[in-house]
């Protein structure tokens, strides 16, 4: 799979039976819908669930539109329900793209609110890297 930002071939990383795709060039992360489902399954949450609450972001001309790495369609700009960070989501719901900075911001934003389960799971997944930096 190609990185939607720099078109490099992405690395697959598996931890705790969950896989993410990331780009070594820009450290952006692709979170596949199937893997989100698996992650929720492991925590006993049915899918699709309330856990995936995103709202369509107010369109910002400066934000670059990106193609979905899976289906190639232009991704939608979305925000976590209680956050401000703008993410890219596949219009067909095949996954979510986090830019390198975004993933940390998103996790920081949601640190207080117990709200978003996906982000909570991501925080656990990337625990070590985030603790160091």
């Amino acid at each position: 799979m190609e990185c939607p930002v720099c078109r490099e071939s992405m690395i697959v990383i598996e931890y705790d039976d969950i896989e993410l795709d990331y780009c070594v060039g820009c450290m952006g992360v692709w979170f596949d819908a199937g893997e989100i489902e698996l992650m929720l399954g492991k925590s006993g949450i049915p899918f699709p669930s309330e856990a995936l609450r995103f709202r369509v972001a107010d369109t910002d001309a400066r934000e670059l539109r990106r193609p979905c790495p899976l289906c190639g369609k232009t991704m939608q700009k979305v925000c976590p329900e209680h956050g401000r960070v703008i993410l890219d989501r596949c219009p067909a719901g095949e996954g979510i793209w986090f830019d390198a900075g975004e993933i940390r911001e998103v996790i920081k934003e949601s640190a207080g609110a117990a709200g978003d389960i996906v982000l909570g799971a991501l925080r656990r997944y990337l625990g070590e890297a985030l603790a160091e930096k």
Partner: protein
């Protein structure tokens, strides 16, 4: 084991001939409509049919694998799947282990291709591997090997290619009727002897519109019985009809649709993915018999796994009086095969009692099969997530990915076209040389 193959052969020729006739007739109507020459159309259609048949005969296997997006895997990519296929190869006395392909698709399904039993291939979707347990997977593999043994694969792929071309031709004809109808009419009126022309034209139109339905009916007539027979073979090879029954049930209730699917490849699958999946009763237009019936028959095989038990169950479930199993097969060693118990817990069902139960039916194969069962080191993953990882790892490896275990506990999977010299771990930030991947 070849008695069913022999009885199938004669009928195959008739079905191929009927389908070819339909295709060539369509060519005639086409030629008349577009080039005002039915003869040209007939000839062109005949040539197309010959070419298609040659392709289907020599390359059908590879064409089907390619259009369905199947990737070949090696034993080390998915030891458990290989183990099951090897086991069923031995139990079925197939001369060679079929090549194994995985299709990256969440919809559970499978198919078999191959001109000869010693050069066959079995393809399964990732969804199938993720959804089924060992007994169920074994049932599906046994069903596919049943198709190979019964010599269904070559014949069905040839019919499938013809069915596909008829459907496509009819589609072109239907569309062109909307746009190109005018020219045809002027010619009819100017050429005088109108009535016969009009009748012929109407007959042609009717043929164009009915051809796909007719082709599907021929395909159905040819394939329906074969599905039942492959189920019967699966029961003999696995000696556990419940495995396949439960698999069919799971496949048919799955809400996920196959991604790469079309009219040509659809009928090749264990359960036709283009059909209504609601376990419908047998309908006139289904290429596969009703899944509900197939499940019912397998579950009604009280105590036995042989042809006798299947035949009795078939008659009880469908209410038909004619036997489904050819009489020649009912006289063989496979007529009575006792069932084994479910292997939900591998320790409670040691492979040793398999040979004790059916020494005559299995003979040498039984002994080897037992060995294969005991050597079953490739244990089934416990959690659904671990099972999914087993499947995706097989897909990664089949695509040439290499793995790096990171000390932080993560595994990095490197694509074959990765250009950088090193890889930074997303989790811990450690740097690994790309060359360390294996």
């Amino acid at each position: 084991m070849w008695e069913i193959a022999r009885s199938n052969k004669r009928k195959s020729v008739i079905f191929v001939f009927l389908m070819a006739l339909l295709l060539v007739l369509m060519g005639g109507v086409f030629g008349e409509h577009f080039a005002q020459s039915a003869e040209t159309g007939l000839l062109v259609a005949f040539v197309i049919w010959v070419i298609l048949s040659i392709i289907a005969y020599f390359q059908g296997r590879n064409v089907f694998l390619a259009v369905s997006g199947a990737h070949k895997i090696r034993k080390e990519d998915h030891p458990r799947l290989f183990n099951i296929v090897e086991e069923m190869t031995i139990a079925s006395l197939l001369p060679a282990i079929p090549e194994i392909y995985i299709i990256d698709d969440p919809a559970p399904n499978a198919f078999a291709v191959g001109r000869k039993p010693d050069s066959a291939a079995v393809a399964v979707t990732s969804g199938l591997l993720n959804t089924l347990n060992r007994d169920e997977l074994q049932g599906v593999i046994a069903h596919e090997i049943g198709h190979i043994i019964n010599r269904d694969t070559l014949f069905m792929s040839m019919l499938g290619v013809m069915l596909g071309s008829i459907v496509i031709l009819s589609e072109i004809a239907r569309r062109s009727l909307f746009f190109g109808g005018g020219r045809r009419r002027t010619r009819t009126s100017s050429s005088g002897g109108g009535q016969i022309q009009v009748i012929l034209m109407i007959a042609g139109l009717v043929l164009m519109l009915l051809a796909p339905i007719l082709a599907r009916l021929i395909y159905l007539a040819a394939s329906r019985k074969r599905e039942y027979l492959a189920d019967a073979s699966a029961a003999i090879f696995t000696r556990l009809p419940e495995g396949l029954a439960s698999a069919l049930e799971k496949i048919s209730v799955s809400p996920i649709r196959l991604r790469k699917i079309n009219q040509v490849t659809a009928p090749m699958y264990t359960i036709n993915p283009l059909q209504n999946m609601k376990l419908a009763e047998d309908s006139l237009f289904s290429t596969h018999p009703s899944t509900l019936n197939r499940v019912r028959i397998l579950r009604s095989m009280a105590g036995g796994s042989g042809y006798d038990a299947y035949d009795a169950a078939f008659r009880a479930v469908t209410g038909q009086t004619r036997a489904i199993i050819p009489p020649s097969a009912l006289k063989t060693a496979h007529a009575t095969v006792p069932s084994r118990s479910r292997r939900s817990d591998p320790k409670s069902d040691p492979g040793t009692d398999q040979t004790k139960q059916a020494p005559s039916a299995m003979g040498m194969a039984g002994a080897v099969l037992t060995a294969a069962v005991l050597m079953d080191a490739a244990a089934e993953p416990v959690t659904p997530a671990a099972k999914v990882r087993e499947t995706t790892d097989a897909i990664w490896k089949s695509r040439g990915y290499r793995f790096i275990p990171c000390p932080c506990g993560a595994a990095l999977k490197v694509p074959p076209d990765y250009r950088r010299t090193d890889i930074v771990c997303l989790r811990c930030g450690r740097k690994h040389p790309a060359a360390s991947a294996s």
